[in-house]
Structure formats: structure tokens, C-alpha cells
């Protein structure tokens, strides 16, 4: 077992454990903090996959913005510091069954796929992912359309969210 594999196993286990705590702990601020831990684990996985830029972006977007937004929303929508009531609904076992079945199904499907245990080839030297990304995002034969559509999507989200949450009647 190589060092990389050991790091993967530790980080992967920590990520999954944090994710489990996200969906089970009752205090929502704690759940949001566990989400931060899980997403940080995912960022480490990106660095293992040689996608450093995405790892940094993951931290900037998820921990710096989305987690903060979640905590703000939790603080805005509760009356007391202690949450009342159960964390899970009464049909949670059906949800658990669904999740287990999904996982089993995915694992079964993947396991039958020929490229399943592929290993990666080395990154060519001088390969700069950010520059490649910039080229892909702006080249007319690349992803210009998704690039511009993303900004329209963000605009729509901003307008929609502002209208929804705070439309003064």
C-alpha cells in the first residue's frame, strides 16, 4: 500500500463519517459544520486527483460562501437556540433502505463496468490545468455557451432568491 492510498483511505473515511453526521445530528449549526468537514475532505480528494485549482475553489465556494449562507439561514429560521423535535421523520427507515439500495445498485453497476479498476496515467509535464481551463471556457469550439449560461443562471438565482425571500407585501 502506497502513502497516497493511505491518505485516500483516511480522508475518505473521515469524509464519509462527517457526511453521516451531517444527515443525523440534530443541531443544524453542527450539521453545517460537519458539512464543512465533509466538503474539506472532498477538497483533499481533489488534490489527490491533481486538481488543485478545484480544491481551492471548493474551499472558497463551499466553506467560504455556501456554509456561511447555511449558518445564516439556520440563525434566521429558529426561535430558540435548542432545536425541538426529532431530527429524522417517521419514515426515516424507508429513506435508509432507499439509500442502501441506491448504493448497492451503483456498486453493482460499477463493478460490472470494464473501466472500473483503471489506473491514471501520469500528468504530462508542463500541463497547467488553470490555463487549459481558461482556454476551454473561452474558446468558441469549447465551452463558451456553458460559461455564459452559468452567469445567466447565477443572475436568475440572485433575482429569484431576492424576490422570494424578501418581497415586501
Amino acid at each position: 500500500m502506497t502513502a497516497e492510498q493511505i491518505i485516500f483511505l483516511i480522508v475518505g473515511a473521515a469524509t464519509l463519517l462527517s457526511a453521516l453526521l451531517v444527515v443525523t445530528v440534530r443541531d443544524l449549526v453542527h450539521a453545517a459544520l460537519w458539512l464543512v468537514a465533509a466538503l474539506f475532505g472532498v477538497a483533499i480528494l481533489y488534490t489527490l486527483l491533481n486538481a488543485g485549482f478545484l480544491a481551492v475553489v471548493q474551499v472558497v465556494v463551499y466553506i467560504g460562501a455556501i456554509a456561511i449562507l447555511f449558518i445564516f439561514a439556520v440563525m434566521l429560521t429558529r426561535r430558540q437556540a435548542a432545536d425541538t423535535g426529532a431530527a429524522l421523520n417517521k419514515n426515516w427507515w424507508a429513506g435508509a433502505l432507499m439509500a442502501v439500495l441506491t448504493f448497492a445498485g451503483l456498486a453493482f453497476l460499477l463493478q460490472g463496468w470494464s473501466g472500473f479498476s483503471k489506473t491514471a496515467s501520469a500528468i504530462p509535464s508542463g500541463f497547467d490545468a488553470i490555463e487549459q481551463l481558461g482556454g476551454a471556457l473561452t474558446s468558441p469550439v469549447g465551452y463558451v455557451l456553458p460559461f455564459e449560461v452559468a452567469s445567466v443562471l447565477l443572475l436568475a438565482a440572485l433575482v429569484g432568491a431576492v424576490y422570494l425571500a424578501f418581497n415586501k407585501k
Binding site: T47, L137, V144, E148, F166
Partner: protein
């Protein structure tokens, strides 16, 4: 991969130092808790209720606008890196991208959502 190992080491050492400092302080400092000392500080007045107050919805609005612009700049950084090698077309693309999001800011502004009160 290698460079991220160093960053990881930085994280570890960056945690060891404050943990060590706080740990040493914990060992050296006296520990005599009492209920008055541990009560929540509210300028001498008895604390009433939980440590939670009604928040302004405005905090959420600012976080929301921030989130949108944060994601936007993530798209713009690769664009800026590559810009020196690209033609006018790419510059115009980036400007259109920014203008679309500025429109969102203007909408929020016009709706009066950027006012604090």
C-alpha cells in the same frame, strides 16, 4: 500532488502551534471554576434567555449576493490567466459575463435590498 503535500504539512504545523500554546496555557493556568465566573458576560446584568437574538434578514441578502459574485470570480480567474493569449473575442465574453452579473446587483439595488434599514 507533491506541492499539496507541503500545503498539508503547513496545515498540520499550523494546527500544532496553537494547540501547543493553548495546551501549555491549560497546564500552567489555575482551574477554579465557579458559577459566577462562568456565567455569560453581559456587562454585569444577569443574562436572560439563550444566547440568540432575532437577526435581520439583511445578513442573508448580503451573503446571497456574495455567494453569487464569489462563484462568478471562480469562472473569471481561469479567463484572466489565459487572457494574454486570447483575442478580442475572449475579452468581450468576459465583459458580457461580468455585465450579466452586474445586472443582478443593480436589480438587488433597485429593489432596495442593499439598504441596511
Amino acid at each position: 500532488m507533491n506541492e499539496w503535500l507541503y500545503i498539508g504539512l503547513f496545515f498540520i504545523v499550523g494546527l500544532i502551534i496553537p494547540v501547543g500554546a493553548i495546551g501549555v496555557a491549560w497546564i500552567l493556568g489555575p482551574k477554579k471554576p465557579n458559577p459566577i465566573k462562568q456565567s455569560t458576560y453581559e456587562c454585569g446584568i444577569e443574562p436572560i434567555g439563550e444566547g440568540w437574538v432575532q437577526f435581520k434578514a439583511q445578513y442573508y441578502i448580503f451573503a446571497l449576493v456574495f455567494l453569487v459574485f464569489d462563484v462568478e470570480t471562480v469562472f473569471l480567474f481561469p479567463w484572466a490567466v489565459k487572457l494574454g493569449q486570447l483575442g478580442m473575442f475572449a475579452v468581450v465574453e468576459g465583459i458580457v459575463f461580468i455585465l450579466i452579473l452586474i445586472a443582478g446587483l443593480v436589480y438587488t439595488w433597485r429593489k432596495g435590498m442593499l439598504e441596511w434599514v
